[in-house]
């Protein structure tokens, strides 16, 4: 594996917890790898599994879906639905040969800037280890 490989990671961050969480990581001056493209979504329940498929198809090396902790959803139950969906999606992706470590679903609250940085760092290292996923690069 080439050492200068920098993974392209797409992060779907929920508007109420994880996005402010990422914001907090920034304002707290916590460093984390800069390879993640953040897409802000209203809720982790908004992240249609097709978004993840599309991201992989368009060349993302890893996809993160971050939402509020179960029980803390701004829309009360969005992340419960997301949890069921992604539990299945994980198994399906693994089955068709996409390493399951390329998709991360986790919960980050608005107060967890440090946790956000940790999750991102860990995931980036994990994807870097796996190497590039086939498909075209997003920024050419």
């Amino acid at each position: 594996m080439t050492t200068d490989f920098e993974p392209q990671i797409i992060g779907f961050l929920c508007r109420w917890c994880s996005y402010p969480g990422a914001d907090l990581a920034g304002t707290s001056r916590i460093t984390y790898p800069p390879f993640m493209r953040v897409i802000r979504v209203p809720c982790s329940g908004r992240v249609d599994p097709l978004f993840v498929l599309k991201a992989f198809q368009d060349g993302a090396d890893g996809v993160m879906v971050l939402g509020c902790h179960p029980g803390d959803c701004h829309y009360l139950e969005g992340n419960y639905h997301a949890r069921r969906r992604y539990a299945l999606m994980h198994r399906l992706l693994e089955y068709v040969g996409v390493d399951k470590d390329r998709l991360l679903v986790d919960w980050v609250s608005a107060a967890e800037g440090r946790h956000f940085a940790e999750v991102t760092t860990e995931f980036t290292a994990q994807v870097r280890e796996l190497g590039p996923w086939g498909g075209k690069r997003i920024d050419g």
């Binding site: 089955y95 040969g97 390493d99």
Partner: protein, 282 residues
């Protein structure tokens, strides 16, 4: 059996209980094709034998709307095998057609054959009597199979790289004819993701990433809804083992949520509900 089916279809059409009866008729080259009987005199076209593999539930979508605006939607009679009756349960569950509008002539089934060979799914099938019917014909067969997911487990056991290679090879054969989707009773969207242009989910190229996207997308859309009638695989002109994909999801849904699609028309499907406390592998 054929005589009884013809008699029942004729009776239903003559009494005006249904305006169309969907069954099977003799096709060309020794094959069987779906038949739509509107006239009682044509009821003698109907047949039933082990070549009748089609899942007729897929045609119910064509009877969802009235022929002319302001009229009542038509009532239909339909011939269903046990596996097809599960599809009908899914349609009831998703409110695609009302129970009162369908007269189901259920058939007990010994398993169907393609080119003289019994279908694999029939060897695994444990349901020999339809789950939903107004009238059931035939005697109950004693022989039942058992679903063991042996082929799914075998594929799961392969290293990820080999599994990827396997699926890439299979998906590469796809010609994007969408026959699998057309044959599927659960695929009834007016506009399929595969053909949507705004947003364009799937590129128009006939290339492996697009085909892979299509098949994974379709498999996921059928999660907790696919009742395993295998119409997609039977329809595939390229012989892609779609059942391996669909049965994998069915198995995961069963182990994770204890749910089997099409068993009844009232249970809320697993992806439409949730439990607050549940340990799911993420």
């Amino acid at each position: 059996m054929t005589d009884k089916i013809r008699a029942k279809a004729r009776e239903l059409l003559e009494s005006g209980q249904v305006s169309c009866f969907i069954g099977y008729e003799e096709g060309t080259r020794g094959r069987v094709r779906p038949a739509f009987v509107y006239d009682p005199q044509d009821a003698d076209r109907l047949i039933w034998d082990e070549r009748c593999t089609h899942n007729l539930a897929v045609y119910l979508h064509q009877f969802q709307r009235p022929p002319r605006r302001g009229e009542e939607p038509p009532r239909v009679g339909i011939l269903l095998k046990p596996c097809d009756s599960r599809s009908l349960n899914v349609l009831f569950q998703e409110e695609q057609i009302e129970r009162e509008r369908v007269y189901v002539v259920g058939l007990t089934c010994q398993g169907v054959k393609v080119n003289g060979q019994p279908e694999e799914r029939c060897l695994r099938c444990s349901e020999r009597v339809p789950l939903v019917y107004d009238l059931v014909l035939g005697s109950v067969p004693k022989v039942v199979g058992r679903e063991d997911y042996a082929d799914v487990v075998r594929l799961e056991g392969l290293p990820p790289g080999e599994r990827l290679a396997f699926w890439m090879k299979e998906f590469d054969r796809c010609i994007r004819c969408y026959a699998c989707r057309q044959a599927c009773p659960a695929c009834y969207c007016f506009e399929c993701v595969a053909e949507q242009l705004d947003p364009q989910w799937m590129g128009i190229a006939i290339d492996v990433p697009q085909k892979q996207f299509f098949h994974v997308m379709r498999a996921y859309h059928l999660a907790g809804r696919c009742s395993g009638c295998n119409a997609c695989e039977d329809a595939c002109p390229m012989g892609i083992p779609l059942s391996l994909l669909n049965r994998k999801i069915a198995r995961e849904v069963e182990t994770m949520f204890g749910y089997k699609a099409g068993q009844d028309a009232v249970t809320v499907p697993p992806l439409a509900t949730f439990k607050k406390e549940e340990a799911l592998p993420l």
